[in-house]
Amino acid sequence: MEKYRINQKKGMEFGLYTLGDHIANPFTGKRISAQQRIKEIIELARLADQAGLDFFSVGESHQDYFTTQAHSVVLAAIAQATDNIKIGSSSTIISTSDPVRVYEDFATIDLISDGRAEIIAGRASRIGLFDLLGYDVQDYEALFEEKFDLLLQINENESLSWEGQYRAPLKDAQVLPRPKNHTLPIWRAVGGTPASAMKAGYAGVPMMLATLGGPASAFKNVVDAYRETARRSGHDTTELPVGVTGFFHVAETSQDALKQIYPYINEGMKLSNGQGFPKQAFAQARDKRSVINVGSPQEVIEKILYQYELFGHQRYLAQMDFGGVPFEQLAKNIEVIAEEILPAIRKYTGKNQEE
C-alpha cells in the first residue's frame, strides 16, 4: 500500500469528496454565486485538514449546475490552503483530457502540496463534455481505456514513447515535472457494477467505488469481483487499496438527519441526473445495513464499521455537500466527524490491523 501512500496501521482513511455541484438550496430556493461556491469548497478542505481528515477531493462535471469544471485549478488552491490532508480528483475525466497535461497538472499540485496529490480517473456519467471538448461519444469506452493506460505509463516512466489512436504519438517524450515521491497514486473510479470493478482489477489499479443507495452487502460483490479479477490477473491485492464513497450526514437523531439531508439529495439528483431519489428507498437508510451513512453519529459509526467488516476497504469518502447544502451544515458535520466519528473509526480499524 506504500506506493499509494496508505498506512494501514493508522486505520481506515476518512475523507470528503465533492462533485462541485452548484445547486439552489431547496429550502430557500436561493443559489449562492459560483465564486462563493468555489471559495466554500476551498474553505471546506481547509476545515477538513484542520480536523485531521485524511483526504479531500474535487470532481469535474461539464454541465449545468456544476462549478468545478477546472477541478485541477481548484485543487491547486486547496493544495496551497492546506497542510497535511491528501488531495485528489473525484473524478478526472481522462477520456476527454490529454493525459500528458493531466499528469503535468497533478504532478505540479503534488509539488505545491508537498507530496499530497492523487488522481481518481473516471469515465463520466453524463456525456455533454464530449461535445464541449471535441470528442466523439461513440468512442466513450476506447477513449478512456487508451488514455487511462497512457496516464499510468506516464506515472511509471519519466520518458516514454507511445502510440495510440486518440492522441499524437510520443517519441522519447519527457513528462515534467515529476511528483515529489516519484509516482502519484492513480485510482480508477468505478460505478456500482461488478463489470466496471473488474476493469480496475484487470489493470491492477486501486478502485474507488461509488455507491448511491441500497444494502452495503450488494456492493460487497463488487469489491469481491475487483479483488478476484486483480488476483487472477497476477496482481497482489494486499497492495491494492479499495475506496468506497457514499452519501453522508449526521444529526442528533437519525430522523433529524434524514429530514435535514433528503431534500438536498432529492433535488440535486433531479437537476444533475434527471430523476429524484425515491423517498421510500431513502427511508431505508435507517437500517444499519444501508450503505447510506446518514443518521446519528453513533449510528453512522456503526454503519461505517459494518461496511469496513464487509469490504475491508482502506478509505471511505463521504459526500455531504450535494444539492445546495449550506456551509454551516457542512462545518457542523466536520466538527462531529473530528470529535466523534474519526476517533471511533481509527480506534477500531487501526487496532484491527495490529492484531
Binding site: R126, I127, G128, Q255, K259, G274, Q275, Q280
Partner: protein
C-alpha cells in the same frame, strides 16, 4: 395532474384518431387536467445511444423531458410485426430505468385484426413494469373494423375508451393518495 397522450407511431392514422378521441374525453371530463398530446409523427427523434436523457438535444430532448415531467401517460400504439413499433420502443430506450416511477401509465392498441391481442400483455406491460409504471391493468384493443374514413365509428370502442380515461384518472388519484400517505409516514 399533468397528462401526456403519447401517440406511438410515425405512420398510419388509427392510433392518432383514437388519441384524439381520448383527448376530447379528457378535455370534457377533466378540464382541470393539463393535457398534452405528443404524436411521434410530429417529431424528429434520434435513436437511443444510452446517454442520460438530459444529454440529448432538439426534439429528443424536449419529448423525453415532457414525458419525465408527466404524472400520467396514456400511450396509443399500433402493432407492427407482432409487437410495438420501434418508434415507441425508442421512447422507452431513451428514458432512464425507473423513468415511470410515481407515474400512472395506461394504453390502447390499434390493430388490423384480433390476432395480436396478447401483444399488450406479453410485450408492453413487462417493459412498463420494469420501468416502474403504475399500470392501469385494463386496456383497450381496437381493430381496423372500428374505423371508417379516419373516424372511430364503433360505439363499443368509444365506451371502452371512456372507461379507460376514467380508470386512468382514478388510478392516478389512488396512487397519489398512497404515495402521499407513505411519504408522510416517513416523517422527513
Amino acid at each position: 395532474m399533468n397528462i401526456i397522450g403519447l401517440s406511438g407511431s410515425i405512420v398510419g392514422s388509427k392510433t392518432r384518431t383514437v388519441m384524439d378521441v381520448v383527448a376530447k374525453e379528457i378535455n370534457e371530463k377533466y378540464p382541470e387536467a393539463d393535457f398534452q398530446l405528443i404524436d411521434l409523427k410530429d417529431y424528429d427523434l434520434q435513436f437511443s445511444d444510452g446517454r442520460n436523457y438530459l444529454d440529448y438535444s432538439g426534439d429528443t430532448a424536449s419529448v423525453t423531458r415532457k414525458i419525465m415531467e408527466a404524472d400520467v401517460i396514456i400511450i396509443g400504439t399500433p402493432v407492427f410485426q407482432a409487437s410495438i413499433p420501434a418508434s415507441l420502443k425508442n421512447i422507452f430506450d431513451l428514458l432512464p430505468a425507473g423513468a415511470f416511477r410515481d407515474k400512472v401509465v395506461s394504453f390502447f392498441i390499434t390493430a388490423g385484426s384480433s390476432k395480436h391481442y396478447l401483444v399488450a400483455d406479453y410485450q408492453l406491460k413487462p417493459t412498463l413494469a420494469y420501468m416502474k409504471a403504475q399500470i392501469v391493468q385494463t386496456y383497450v384493443y381496437i381493430e381496423e373494423k372500428s374505423f371508417r374514413q379516419k373516424q372511430l365509428i364503433d360505439d363499443d370502442a368509444a365506451f371502452r375508451l371512456e372507461r379507460l380515461v376514467e380508470d386512468t384518472v382514478d388510478t392516478f388519484e389512488a396512487a397519489e393518495w398512497v404515495r402521499k400517505k407513505k411519504e408522510d409516514s416517513y416523517g422527513f
